[in-house]
Symmetry: C2
Subunit: 279 residues, 2 copies
């Protein structure tokens, strides 16, 4: 846990500047991702997911906290302004369904959907606990050199299952499973937008299996939020433990499934994606 | 594997009749789910997912095979006709993004998105193999009595992790993991619509943990298809092995993640959902 003095206030943090939206009314929002969050082609998918989630979060009709988010990456987002249109398709007593579209001129590079909900006290249990791992302070941060710009915005500490290109010598690995500690850099109090971005901060599973930098790109990303605002707030600027693994790599597409736990072992999110690859 | 004589032709199979769509032009389709696929409230979510997926599949502009499908269940679908509006938001050289909405009058009970793609030969591997289990012939089918109507359309054979209410005596169970064999009843050659429906054919994880029939309902479902049409066709009317497990049950919502393998061990789909519960 960071002391408050080491945690940037939300309004000044790079993630908040990168995902800041200007409300245009009638569910429309304007934004632009700065190049400090660039990936190989276009912005980092996680920061796009966070920007898309912020649209319903900041909509005056919003009910409850995010429960589920799906983002479909249709094509590259240009380094230019965009608009997000957010629409509530259905509002129930304790849940609300949203669809979002990102537009740049005539282009629709991204579509998304989200479910928001009020939680209430009831029988609850956590079935998936984190594996035993060394504490974040005992694991070195990965250097950002030679990696896309967005990586510099995260403190990533790989416990096991690093990129096979960085192995000595570089070699194929039999498992795609990675365990890592991760948090925003500089540290930032956790909220749903930050957690949505962190859900995409696992490097591609193909790069764990095979020691080659080939073209890859997330096609569709789904994250389930298992915590409410109060649980996220308790995490402060602490590290999250991530575990992620691919299940099949077949003819140009692979999947992965992951989990993100707070330092105290609380499961905060599970996240899944399907990824294009050209190998 | 069924012999062809025991496999109903697609046009006559109950699943095809239930998900049959009438093209209205301009991406609109009309349909109606019969009561033979009813769940506790409204139709079985899997048959709704299959109907939503059929809309882009039957659209004249469709490119490639389904790769990802997300369905958001906003509210109950009435036992009445519906329309599905399907729109291609982006078409690339080898992939295509779709959004779908189901409408009943002014109501939008369901929204969905799908990605379609052409696959091509490249380095491929399967990382998640099925666990050792007895063959389908060695496992009894669950009886449909006392269960919703849709269950009669499936041959479900629970290997382990059955509903705790059916344990003797009924009792809490520590794990929500279920292993089961499943296929359409009568058997039907596998295709993407059938696989989309089968992806929702796992009973609720809460019923495995706790021996009480409390209200539950899928809120959002995402399935990734890992096989192409040819691989699905090779499955014929055979059983699929499913493994599924919940990760956290918290204040009214739980998740599960699952996998479906062909009898020969090929991973055909991974599937994830978040579910409302009132306990």
């Amino acid at each position: 846990m960071e002391s408050p003095a080491n945690t940037a206030a939300h309004s000044e943090h790079p993630l908040d500047l990168a995902t800041r939206l200007e409300a245009l009314g009638e569910g429309r929002f304007a934004g632009r991702i700065p190049e400090t969050y660039s990936n190989f082609i276009g912005p980092f998918g996680g920061v796009l997911a966070a920007a898309l989630l912020r649209a319903p979060c900041e909509h005056p009709a919003r009910l409850g906290d995010p429960l589920a988010l799906t983002v479909n990456f249709g094509g590259p987002v240009a380094p230019a302004p965009f608009e997000i249109a957010a629409r509530a398709t259905r509002t129930n007593r304790s849940s609300q369904h949203w669809t979002m579209e990102m537009q740049q001129g005539e282009d629709i590079p991204l579509t998304a959907s989200a479910v928001f909900a009020h939680r209430r006290e009831t029988w609850s249990t956590q079935e998936s606990d984190p594996p035993p791992v060394p504490a974040p302070a005992e694991v070195p941060s990965i250097p950002g050199e030679g990696l896309p710009a967005w990586v510099a915005n995260y403190d990533i500490r790989v416990v096991s299952g690093g990129m096979s290109l960085l192995a000595d010598p570089p070699r194929d690995q039999a498992s795609s499973e990675t365990l890592l500690w991760v948090r925003d850099r500089p540290a930032r109090a956790l909220d749903f937008a930050a957690l949505a971005a962190l859900s995409d901060a696992f490097f591609p599973r193909l790069y764990v299996r095979r020691p080659r930098m080939v073209p890859v790109g997330t096609v569709s990303l789904t994250t389930y939020f298992h915590a409410d605002s109060a649980e996220l707030a308790r995490c402060g600027g602490g590290f999250l433990l991530g575990r992620v693994r691919g299940q099949r790599f077949n003819k140009g597409f692979f999947d992965h499934s992951g989990a993100l736990w707070a330092e105290d072992g609380t499961l905060l999110a599970t996240t899944h994606q399907v990824v294009y690859y050209k190998e």
